[in-house]
Structure formats: C-alpha cells, structure tokens
C-alpha cells in the first residue's frame, strides 16, 4: 500500500484498527471493550506472571504433542493411501467424514474416554489437525510423475528408498500445505479442548479472567494467542515458498 508516494510497511492498516479500538475503549462504550492501551499494559504485566507462564507451557506442550502425532501419523498414512489403492479405499471415507465433522462435539466423548486432563487435549488437537494432513499428503503422492518411480525402480530402489527419496520429496509441497492448514486447525483444537475441559492451560486462565470480569486480561491473552497462531502460520507459509521452486515443475 502506498499513501502520498510513501510505501507503507505490510500490515500498517492494523494501526487504524488499533486506533479505532482505543477510541471505542476510551468512549466507555462497553465494559467488555477496555481501551487498547490498558490491554497492552495488562499484557506486559501478565506475560511474566506464573499463571500465564504455566498456561503457556501447558498449551504449548499440548499443542506440540498434538501436532507431533498428527504429522508423524498423518504424513505416512497419506503417503500410503496415495500409493496403495486398497488402503486408500479403506480409509478415504473416514478421512473425509472426519475432515468435515464438527469435532468440537466429540470433545466431551474424549473426556469420558481419556479423562479431564492433558491426554484428552492432546488427542483433540491431533484430531483437529490430522485429516487435512493425510488428505494433502495423499494428493501430493497421487500427482507424482510415474516415470520418477520407474526411474527409481530401474536403479533398484527398495520400497523404503523410494518412500524416503522419491515419494516424500515429490509430495513435499502438498505435505507442507497440509501441515500448515493442519497446524492452524491444531491451534483451534488445543484452545477448544482447553475451553471445554477448562481446568488446564489457557482454558483455566480464560475461566479465571471471565469469572472475575478482568476484561483487559482476557483481551491481552487473546492477543497473545492470535499473534502466536499467526506467526506459526506465516512461518509455515515461508517454508512452503522455499519448496515452491519445484512444486510447479514436477
């Protein structure tokens, strides 16, 4: 964006929204919207507080564990589905069902099955992320150029070698795309899980703040969460661009 010949840095439009927020907050329009400056100063107080650190640690732990399982199970499953018709026909209907299913409704069931703790949150996170990762890895494998596989076979590649040296790399652009969307969904999963179970991590923190009407605390934590999710997504988009040089030329 350029104004009066000046090139503005990316996302400078956020400044306008920040200003608007400040004005609405100062007007005392609603108790729920404290001025942005209050939120920011609360944010600076809250960040080092033990309650926040604990919530961050627990959320980060559940998030990373959930994403880890989604990636480690999802990518090979997707690749196998793309390689093998039989596995594909067995699993594809389930993957599609779960991809579009309202998973939030499953969380109470998970709580009954796995208890009210970390385990349920991790599983929720994995369930949110894994389906799109599987589908994308599968799509990546299905568009592989047949002659690359013939080439590897003609030089005597073992199944493991063609998996690690051909299939994985040829599908990498799609896999990374899937992981990026999967991770965005995992952020939702981990927060929804914590809100519903609400005794750990940010779920507990939200519960505490809203019960005590600490609105600037509430907003401060929300901003932190949004910023983290956005950063992760941008980082993955950057990785995707790193492999895009060959994505179009396979």
């Amino acid at each position: 964006m350029t104004i009066w010949g000046y090139r503005l840095p990316g996302m400078s439009s956020l400044l306008i929204w920040a200003l608007l927020w400040e004005i609405v907050g100062r007007s005392g329009y609603s108790f729920f919207v404290p001025p942005l400056s209050d939120v920011v100063s609360t944010l600076i107080q809250v960040l080092p507080s033990p309650a926040f650190q604990k919530a961050l640690y627990e959320t980060g732990y559940a998030f990373l564990a959930g994403v880890f399982f989604a990636v480690v199970i999802g990518i090979p499953t997707g690749i196998f589905m793309g390689k093998n018709r039989l596995i594909d026909e067995l699993l594809l209907p389930w993957v599609n069902i779960f991809l579009s299913a309202p998973l939030t409704a499953l969380v109470p069931v998970l709580m009954v099955l796995f208890g009210f703790g970390m385990k349920s949150i991790i599983i929720t996170t994995t369930l949110f992320a894994i389906w799109i990762i599987i589908l994308n890895a599968r799509a990546g494998v299905m568009q592989i150029n047949r002659s690359l596989i013939d080439m590897a076979n003609s030089f005597g590649a073992s199944p493991w070698e063609s998996f690690t040296k051909i299939y994985f790399w040829a599908a990498l652009p799609e896999i990374l795309g899937g992981v990026r969307i999967g991770i965005i969904r995992a952020v939702k999963g981990v927060i929804i899980g914590q809100l519903l179970i609400s005794i750990v991590g940010f779920g507990a923190l939200f519960e505490l703040y809203s019960a005590n009407f600490l609105m600037s605390h509430f907003w401060a934590v929300l901003i932190v969460l949004f910023a983290m999710a956005f950063t992760i997504s941008e980082f993955l988009a950057y990785l995707e661009r790193r492999v895009s040089y060959y994505a179009a030329k396979r």
């Binding site: 076979n153 005597g156 990498l172």
Partner: protein, 265 residues
C-alpha cells in the same frame, strides 16, 4: 505364429547376442499390447524399435528393463532370465525423470546412490560423466534451470554413470528441439562406437532410426509383433556428415516408409 522375417541378414559370423526376448505377450486387461514378440539384440550395437504410436514400444522396453512383467514369454540378458530391474541395464526416459529438488550432481549420481555407492566415489564418477556430456559447470544447477536438451544430457549422464551393459532409451530425443536432436544423434553414434554397450532405442522417427541404428526392428500396430528387421549395414563406416545424403540411407528410409504407410491412416 508369425516369425519375424529377416530380410537382409548380412551378419557375417554368428552375432553375440546381449539381450533376447522370446515370445513376449503383454495384455493390459483386454488390450493386447504385445503378442508373441521375439527379438534379439546384438552386443555392442544399437537396435531401434520403430513403429506407430501405441504399438507397444514403451511396453517392450519396460519389460526388458524389468519394470513390467510380461503376460507370457521371457527376456534374457547375457543368457540370464530377467526377473526385475538389474545392474546390467539402465534406462533413459523420454521425460528425463529428473528429481526436481536435487542438483544436477545429485541427479547424475542418483543411480549410483540407489546402487549403494559411497557419496565421495559416486560424486567423483558423476562429475566425470557431467563433463563427458558437456554439462561441466552446471553441477549445482537445478533441473528447472536447464533447457530440455540439457536435462536430457543429465538423464543420459545418469544412465551412463552406472556403467550398465545395456542402455534402454525410450524416445530420448523427442522432447528436444531439432538442432539439439541432430547433435544428440551424432553424439549417440560416437557413444555407440566408443562404449562397448548394447543400446535399445525407441523412436518415432524413421530418419532418426536409420541414422543411428545398426539394426532396426519395425513393429506393427497392436497386437504388436516384429514385422521386419533392417540392418543399414553399409552406413556405419561412412562419414557422419554424409550419411543423410547417402543413397543407401535414402533407400532405407523410403523402404521403411513404404511398409509403414499402410498402418497410418
């Protein structure tokens, strides 16, 4: 059963056969691609498979490579039956089949990598063949930075670097421009002369087949058999620059066209 008629069998002594295919049939479901095809490939020579599109040339080449199982019949390389891909054969692909995420060096070394050669050794060997095919200086380039002709040189270097006895080439020059193609044909003749390898070469082009081959097998449309084997015997000793003006060359081109034109609607 239609035996291949061998016209012009001018082999002076019993030729040394590197690859032989016996009574190969291949069905894809209901489609009979090859039927009872027998053909022998003399060692150290270049044999072209020539025939109309869809007649099963690629199928035959992949069966020889061990990438496809014939429905019946067998392939022997050096007297041993083929059961799968082996170190005695290397394939050059029509679409090059390069790894887009790997440098020229790694692509050329990839055959050796899959055959378990240690990194330093395979890179040294790859570097030599990169120079041989005229790509010195491009070791660290990526396939998408190369022209079609250069990409096929990479594919060729990869196949040469594993030093297999038999080179299987599926229309290797069809995706490059005419000038590059002519240069490739000359280089190929030189390669056949210096390397004592057996070349099996698929092409659509009658001129190309006559220009580069010691032996041309003409395949008929599906279900495919060998209809004729032609040996442009006199051409190999002639100067590369004059072959295309040679009367024997022109005669053979005409004769092949005469026998193929019936099948081209």
């Amino acid at each position: 059963m239609a035996m291949p008629q061998i016209k012009e069998a001018v082999a002076p002594a019993e030729p040394d056969i590197a690859v032989s295919t016996r009574n190969i049939s291949k069905n894809y479901g209901d489609v009979e691609a090859l039927k009872d095809l027998s053909l022998e490939f003399p060692r150290g020579q270049l044999t072209s498979l020539l025939g109309p599109s869809g007649c099963g040339k690629t199928t035959l080449l992949k069966i020889i490579a061990g990438l496809l199982e014939p429905t019946s019949g067998e392939v022997e390389v050096d007297g041993k039956a083929v059961t799968g891909p082996g170190e005695d054969r290397a394939f050059v692909f029509q679409d090059f089949a390069l790894l887009p995420w790997a440098s020229v060096l790694r692509n050329v070394a990839f055959g050796l990598e899959l055959r378990g050669v240690a990194k330093s050794e395979r890179e040294a060997r790859a570097a030599k063949y990169i120079n041989d095919v005229g790509l010195g200086g491009f070791e660290n380039a990526f396939p998408h930075e190369l022209s079609g002709g250069m990409r096929q040189r990479v594919g060729l270097a990869r196949a040469l670097s594993v030093d297999s006895q038999v080179l299987l080439m599926d229309e290797p020059f069809s995706a490059v421009d005419e000038q590059t193609r002519r240069k490739f044909q000359e280089d190929l003749l030189e390669l056949v002369a210096v390397e004592n390898k057996t070349f099996i070469f698929v092409t659509h082009s009658i001129e190309e087949a006559v220009y580069v081959s010691d032996q041309i097998a003409i395949l008929l449309p599906r279900p495919s058999r060998v209809s004729e084997i032609i040996r442009p015997a006199g051409l190999r000793d002639k100067d590369v620059d004059n072959i295309r003006r040679d009367s024997e060359y022109l005669d053979i081109v005409d004769r092949i066209w005469a026998s193929l034109r019936n099948y081209v609607e």
